[in-house]
Symmetry: C2
Subunit: 315 residues, 2 copies
């Protein structure tokens, strides 16, 4: 099988970003293990810089740019975590960051992006408005567009989370991630493929935003206009670069309801005493819903982030 990213490229990305990211801890919970009937290793990207795995991809993309290009700055659009990642990475590299955010993004994410010194442009919460604004800024400033997910440098960066998890726990039977644009899922699938051949990769997806699930069933990308889910990090459609990796490497995608997402989120908060965002709870919900398939196995779950608006909790 020909893949667009090599093991060496993931290893290089990891070396490139390692000085600027946290090697996040892997936590376990006896009571959650009892509930799901398998041994779960939670890779805590909620403890990552900016509170989400996206710090990895953003940093790798920006650090990979040639010096001359980089100094003109970077531009992106994101509902939040990728925005923070790009803003943080740009601040680290002392270059300008132009961020297009939907006006509906959680308050805590808007504040955090501003805190990294980025210039924010608010827009309507549609894919089209986001892309148009980003293109305009790109034309005006000469800044490089950093895709939230549909970019091989971003995928390489996201792949480093599963790489670390597999270094810490080599014998995982499976890894579950959430899927939105597909960067984390594609990266995870690559790392499992290269670094742990017996580890099978699955994803959880909100039933209300299930374009990746439908795509996998159809064998081609299925688009879905304006999905709505509490998992606000998973509303973007799957990118074609990600699809080219997910399609051959990911075993299955499980959909979960909004109620199942909130219940899984609550379970993790209550039992593990850690804050995860709804998007991060999606693979947990998928595992609970399909626990029969994973009985007695060793399962990694990537808790993708912990950026929630505490003033607007679903409990």
């Amino acid at each position: 099988m020909s893949l667009p990213i090599s093991a060496q490229q993931i290893e290089d990305a990891h070396k490139r970003i390692a000085p600027f990211i946290h090697r996040t801890p892997v936590l376990t919970s006896k009571s959650i293990n009892q509930i799901v009937g398998c041994e779960v290793l939670f890779k805590c990207e909620n403890f990552q810089k900016i509170g989400a795995f996206k710090a990895r991809g953003g940093l790798n993309a920006i650090l990979s740019l040639p010096e001359e290009t980089r100094k003109k700055g970077v531009v992106t659009h994101s509902s939040g975590n990728h925005a923070q990642a790009v803003a943080m990475a740009a601040q680290t590299c002392k270059i300008p960051a132009y961020i297009v955010m939907p006006s509906t993004a959680p308050e805590v994410k808007k504040k955090a992006v501003a805190g990294y010194g980025a210039q924010i442009t608010f827009c309507e919460p549609t894919q089209q408005a986001r892309e148009e604004n980003a293109s305009r800024i790109q034309a005006e400033t000469g800044a490089t567009f950093i895709s939230p997910y549909n970019d091989y440098r971003v995928i390489e960066g996201q792949a480093t989370s599963a790489k670390e998890l597999l270094e810490d726990h080599a014998d995982l039977d499976a890894i579950l991630t959430p899927v939105g644009g597909g960067g984390l899922l594609a990266g995870t699938a690559l790392s499992a493929n290269y670094f742990s051949e017996n580890t099978v990769v699955y994803a959880g997806e909100p039933a209300n935003a299930d374009d990746a699930y439908r795509s996998l069933k159809a064998g081609e990308i299925v688009k879905m206009p304006q999905p709505k889910s509490i998992a606000d990090g998973l509303l973007t459609g799957i990118g074609d670069k990600n699809w080219g990796i997910i399609h051959p490497l990911v075993k299955d995608i499980y959909t979960v309801t909004e109620e199942e997402i909130v219940e899984a989120m609550r379970l993790v908060w209550e039992r593990m005493k850690i804050v995860i965002e709804p998007s991060g709870a999606v693979p947990v919900a998928a595992l609970i819903k399909n626990k029969g398939l994973f009985a007695h196995k060793k399962v990694g779950v990537i808790l993708s982030g912990g950026n929630v608006d505490l003033g607007k909790l679903p409990f």
Copy 2:
């Protein structure tokens, strides 16, 4: 100075309970360090068994009982965390646990106590009602009363948290804990005294339940009938055994308002992505309020627990 608990007794307690507790992690947060202007080491007892440090004292008290006494069971009264600790320790030792809980205790704590197989008696939320019910059960069953705090075996157990913190970070200038009944504060003061002579111990206390603060200023125990605070773990009056340790060893107690407690709790949830209960936020609030006193120092903070009712958050 003559103290009722020796260094050896704390070391013995630690060996006794070590197989049954977690050695909890010590976390740091760059952004909180920036806010308070010092280096803060957070000892995460919210990740302890039962979600709070009280697992330590409960286990040590029960494991210290002679076999014949122990098998008749144990009884206690508690608004929640000590109840869970005794229930869990009793389950570990396969003996009955009789728990008196105020009817106002958070739902999540009631459920957890029941989950450990304890027999629960609900009562009015007053010290008197709690003590009367516990005495009656003690007389009826022959069970041993395990005080939530006013017990040297409990204090020894609570002392092991600061002991671990000081083993991991030998050069702390100060440690802050919350204070309610005084078990954690007394234990922490003993461990600092024996294991790190340059570490000064302070406490934070809700202004709405400031009997320990008033006692320290008066030089004798001041009682306070029915205090009310969101920090529901800190409503009990300071015990005389604890007072005998706190009075000579604790440098100062800082009071904080309800708003300051909620703000500190929110800060820790947002920046560190961990769940702490209001009582655990009290020393954080005390540190923020008095940050000038700790500038550039290395300060340990014991995050005492993480058992919150997610359906009743103050955000």
